[in-house]
């Protein structure tokens, strides 16, 4: 039999088997869909978190707070000095008066807190914008600022950004481990379903073998069945992920949704998800019939 003709036969038989035993098939499809959905969700969350981190990294800055008695001339001098360092994109000197005005503008409800002071209540500072990539010696440069007598505090955004990056890596690792476990469970389910189907067909398989069917011809429909179950599971998972993403995207005014629902998975990632389902299904079928004499 020609290969394409054989494939057509395999998939037709597989479709008939899927429909005939739709309850157990649905169980297999759902198990694989759930594991791929969770895997896809982790991919989506970690991808969007990583994108957010990347975006924030572009907006990253270091704020150097100065002693209250720092003069405006010293502020300008320190700003000029900071601007000469490598990797510094911008330096904005903020006087104590500027800081007060900015606070009053941002928080008009509590603006009166800033009134009635004999001295300026907020310190002067330097807001230093940095390049996204970190040049060598950046930490030592910041430590140098910390040791200066005019400086009271150096607030570095990179510290919590680094922690966030660690969190993204953890999310990815946990997701990967979870998906590995769930996929193994899904493969086991598919293998059991295929074994059950093969058992239900053992009489027919016997006849096919008797009249001269090759092993490839006998096993082909079962492999196709596993493949179809995995494929359906992958498609179902992708659809469900898209629905959840859309729901989150509609509420992107909330901080949580705005971080997690920036972008959906790329077509390539979806293809990988669906193919992973198909591969898991096929693997389950092959594993279930590997040692079976059918």
């Amino acid at each position: 039999m020609k290969f394409l003709q054989a494939l057509r036969y395999f998939f037709r038989e597989a479709a008939v088997n899927l429909l005939r035993g739709w309850k157990v098939s649905l169980l297999a499809v759902l198990t694989i869909a759930v594991s791929l959905f969770i895997g896809g969700a982790f991919l989506l969350v970690s991808g969007n978190l990583a994108a957010s981190v990347e975006r924030w990294r572009g907006e990253m800055r270091v704020v150097v707070y100065l002693r209250p008695d720092t003069s405006e001339a010293d502020l300008r001098r320190l700003a000029a000095e900071a601007a000469r360092a490598p990797g510094v994109v911008s330096v904005e000197p903020v006087t104590a008066a500027d800081a007060r005005r900015r606070f009053q503008e941002i928080s008009p409800g509590v603006a009166e807190l800033m009134a009635g002071w004999q001295e300026e209540p907020l310190p002067a500072s330097l807001e230093i914008g940095l390049e996204t990539r970190t040049p060598a010696g950046r930490a030592a440069w910041l430590d140098g600022w910390r040791r200066r007598p005019e400086v009271t505090l150096v607030d570095d955004d990179r510290e919590w950004l680094g922690q966030l990056e660690t969190a993204v890596a953890v999310v990815r690792a946990v997701g990967l481990a979870l998906v590995g476990g769930l996929l193994a469970a899904a493969i086991f389910t598919i293998a059991s379903v295929i074994r059950l189907t093969a058992y239900l067909h053992h009489e027919e398989i016997g006849i096919m073998r008797l009249v001269g069917a090759t092993e490839f011809f006998i096993r082909g429909p079962f492999y196709a069945e596993g493949l179809l179950q995995g494929l359906l599971g992958g498609l179902l998972a992708s659809g469900a992920l898209f629905a959840v993403y859309q729901a989150l995207h509609a509420r992107r005014s909330s901080l949580f949704a705005s971080i997690l629902a920036l972008d959906f998975l790329s077509p390539k990632q979806i293809a990988v998800l669906v193919l992973l389902g198909a591969a898991a299904g096929l693997f389950g079928a092959v594993a279930s019939l590997r040692r079976e004499s059918l």
Partner: protein, 264 residues
């Protein structure tokens, strides 16, 4: 066509199923294989289509040593051998057409071709009008005829039948036996296992007798009441434009089966 040379079969339990069996069945011969239950008839038959392998000795079928052919070649051997069992082995949820057309499907024959071949095979056993029936709707005799049609669909060189009339009443048994004799008349080598000595005496032909795994007899019998057989119909049949629809009348003429052979 079929040659057994000192064939013995010992099962792992130690039971000896066959012992030093040697015989030769030439092409086109009709052979009864007889003996009491447990004499080794089924084991012998299963060896011909490589369902069993001998513990020692050689078996040649069509010049091929079946005990040493690689596993991947067994299907090709089986496509030249039709097998019929006492219990029919039909799939209840499949139609007569589907039950009969396993081999053409495996060979990649298209659906029209499969129908044509199934029709021809069923016409030989007088059941062309039951193409769309399901096995449970048929009588025992009809089910056995469907099983024979399945075995005949590819015009096999050899037809093996293991107690094919064991589940049938005497009238139906005679009918089925006549079918085997007609198949043989067309040139197919037939080996039919039965313990019905009366039928063998009546029909005649060559008789191989097994006793506790040994070949206890090999004789040519002249039948006391041999059935009158129709000469085989000529294959020249006017060719219609289309294959007959399932359920067409038996008298419908159909073209001979297409020579579709697979390049599997």
């Amino acid at each position: 066509m079929i040659q057994f040379f000192h064939v013995s079969k010992r099962y792992p339990s130690g039971q000896m199923a066959l012992e030093e069996v040697t015989f030769h069945v030439p092409r086109g011969q009709f052979v009864f294989l007889t003996g009491a239950s447990g004499a080794g008839k089924t084991t012998l038959l299963r060896m011909i289509f490589r369902e069993e392998v001998p513990s020692s000795g050689q078996i040649l079928v069509n010049g091929r040593n079946v005990s040493s052919i690689p596993a991947g070649k067994i299907p090709y051997l089986r496509r030249t051998i039709g097998v019929v069992f006492q219990d029919f082995r039909l799939i209840a949820r499949k139609t007569v057409f589907e039950n009969v057309s396993y081999l053409p499907r495996i060979l990649g024959v298209d659906t029209q071709g499969q129908k044509r071949l199934a029709y021809l095979a069923l016409r030989r056993v007088g059941l062309a009008h039951r193409l769309n029936a399901f096995p449970p709707e048929l009588s025992g005799g009809e089910q056995q005829r469907v099983a024979i049609a399945r075995a005949l669909i590819n015009d096999p060189d050899i037809l093996i039948a293991d107690e094919p009339t064991g589940n049938l009443d005497p009238d139906l048994s005679r009918e089925i036996l006549r079918l085997f004799l007609e198949v043989n008349l067309r040139g197919t080598t037939v080996i039919l296992a039965t313990h019905d000595r009366e039928t063998i005496q009546r029909v005649g032909r060559r008789v191989l007798t097994l006793d506790h795994g040994r070949l206890a007899g090999d004789q040519e019998l002249v039948g006391t009441d041999p059935p009158v057989l129709e000469p085989p119909a000529e294959a020249e049949i006017p060719e219609p434009a289309e294959a007959p629809s399932p359920g067409a009348a038996e008298e419908d003429s159909v073209p001979p089966p297409p020579p579709e052979e697979a390049a599997e």
